[in-house]
């Protein structure tokens, strides 16, 4: 993403595309999270309400998922940076 070589109109278009992509990624992640946590935590449909056990499970699941995606993002950024560093030199 080389923003120095584009003029204002191209930059605006680029940033719009990037924003759209980011929104899509975010929604994808959300739907993954919901599916994963639902399938793991909620297995008992004898009652409509969420029990406290399921609540706890859900909060753990959401936390872990977000932390996991953070960690994966950090590793990915590191690998990317290493590669770019290698290609630069």
């Amino acid at each position: 993403m080389d923003f120095s070589q584009m003029n204002a109109a191209e930059q605006a278009q680029m940033s719009r595309i990037l924003e759209k992509k980011q929104m899509q990624d975010f929604l994808k992640m959300y739907s993954n999270l919901v599916e994963r946590c639902f399938t793991t935590c909620c297995n008992d449909f004898t009652s409509k309400a969420l029990s406290s056990k399921e609540e706890q499970c859900l909060s753990h699941c959401a936390d872990k998922f977000l932390k996991h995606s953070e960690r994966v993002g950090a590793r990915f950024a590191e690998l990317n940076a290493e590669q770019m560093g290698v290609t630069d030199k």
């Binding site: 953070e70 960690r71 950090a74 950024a77 590191e78 770019m84 560093g85």
Partner: protein, 464 residues
């Protein structure tokens, strides 16, 4: 029949109750009334030997599993410790050098992977494996790393800036702290020797970046092995087309005319300046520093690689006694994880794993001579190849049918091949000089305060 069987067995009705019942199963009566006896002597011998060998093998493997599981259980509580998303687990660097005369350079790292790694994985300790593919590879790598770090600290090289922002704390102090908390694992005595030599070289040599290939190419250029005998325009003298001929003809002309040098060997317009982007390094940096900063603690993993026909009994013994290797590897890993260190003691620690050197193949004693022989053989065969290449290139003769189908190497290719071979021979010989049993472990007084070794967790005795 039943009356016959019933009458004599009336007083022993308890035991033969089974017999009476089995009678009705269809098993032949002769089998039931036979008296059990041992198999023949030969069968006994066979069964005895087979079951002993198999039993010992199974016992050994079962012991391996229990030992490994015991050590895993000792450390697995460390893997459950929560870690922030931007934090890093502890990381160690594992070096495994090539064992003398082994075609497979991976043996040391395979030992690490099989016996030490499971415990590290259970304790969530990360590791980086560095394999030395040829003798002396690890020394040069360690020395290069130290040199680039010294250059960074001296300010000669600018620090790397990353375009992509990295999460977490990546400041130099944090990195240094993480490195010191990590560790270095050396598998086998050759690795230890190479590592110490690399350390010594890295902290004693100057700071210029030396490109080994370039340096060698310059040396070889003036060597005279690719010399021409006469100028291209002068009349061809059939017998004297050859190279490296004795003095009288050499004085006639310059060693290699500019026309015949391949482009990459021609003197570059910017020659000295290209090696460092700025002026040559000021003298004060080239002096080796008086003290070395603290190095991460070292763990030596004893490892012996058995090679050759005469060592097959050792290999067989090892096959049936892997539990000792599992125990030793697990203990080393446990030492690393518990991370209690003691200062390096040159008197005892320099001899770690010394008995492994007995197992080097005796053919290695004449390694330098064997390389010399290969080299002389190559240079003897070189003039002919060169003659063919030059003749074909200048059009002195037409290529034969074989030569059109499989074109012989041109002069440029021959030079490149020679460079590659010389590089390999020289690095092999210098690498062997580091590893050979007669060579002492490289050590410097500066290392005294800077090196640490992982100690036995229970008591701090000097045991590696």
């Amino acid at each position: 029949m039943s009356s016959n069987g019933a009458a004599p067995t009336a007083p022993q009705v308890q035991e033969s109750g089974i017999k009476a019942a089995l009678k009705y199963t269809g098993i032949p009566q002769s089998w039931l009334s036979k008296r059990p006896k041992l198999p023949s002597r030969n069968w006994l011998i066979f069964i005895g030997i087979t079951s002993t060998v198999t039993g010992y093998y199974l016992y050994d493997r079962r012991q391996c599993k229990t030992i490994r599981q015991a050590y895993v259980d000792k450390v697995k509580h460390l893997a459950e410790v929560p870690l922030h998303s931007h934090d890093y687990p502890r990381k160690v660097t594992v070096y495994g050098a090539k064992w003398p005369d082994d075609e497979d350079s991976d043996r040391a790292i395979k030992y690490f992977r099989k016996y030490v790694k499971p415990i590290l994985v259970a304790a969530a300790v990360d590791f980086d494996m560095v394999i030395g593919k040829r003798y002396g590879d690890i020394s040069s790598r360690v020395a290069d790393e130290i040199r680039s770090r010294r250059r960074l600290e001296a300010g000669i090289d600018p620090p790397k800036r990353n375009i992509i922002a990295k999460a977490g704390n990546h400041s130099p102090e944090a990195e240094r702290r993480r490195e010191l908390a990590g560790g270095i694992v050396l598998v086998g005595r050759p690795t230890f020797k190479e590592f110490m030599e690399g350390l010594r070289r890295g902290w004693s040599d100057g700071l210029e970046k030396v490109d080994r290939e370039d340096k060698l190419a310059r040396e070889l250029e003036s060597d005279g092995k690719f010399d021409e005998l006469e100028e291209p325009s002068s009349p061809v003298d059939p017998e004297s087309v050859g190279d490296g001929e004795p003095l009288p003809t050499k004085s006639r002309l310059p060693p290699s005319t500019g026309l015949f040098k391949p482009p990459y060997l021609r003197p570059l317009p910017v020659d000295k300046g290209s090696s460092s982007s700025s002026s040559p390094i000021p003298e004060q940096f080239n002096i080796p520093p008086a003290s070395i900063p603290q190095q991460p603690p070292i763990l030596f993993v004893p490892f012996t690689n058995y090679l050759g026909f005469l060592q097959v009994p050792h290999m067989i013994w090892d096959f049936f006694n892997q539990r000792q290797k599992v125990l030793s590897g697990a203990q080393c890993a446990y030492k690393l994880i518990e991370s209690q260190t003691r200062p390096f003691e040159p008197t005892t620690d320099l001899d770690c794993g010394l008995d492994a050197e007995h197992y080097y193949k005796s053919s290695m004693k004449k390694y330098a001579e064997s390389i010399e022989k290969i080299r002389t053989g190559y240079y003897k065969a070189l003039p002919d190849k060169l003659k063919t290449a030059r003749d074909l290139a200048r059009g002195n003769r037409e290529p034969t049918k074989d030569e059109t189908n499989y074109p012989p190497p041109t002069e440029v290719e021959l030079r490149a091949e020679r460079l590659k071979k010389e590089l390999r021979w020289r690095s092999d010989v210098s690498g062997w000089d580091i590893i050979k049993p007669e060579a002492p472990v490289a050590f410097d007084e500066r290392f005294n305060g800077a090196l640490e070794v992982f100690a036995d967790p229970l008591d701090k005795e000097t045991e590696l």
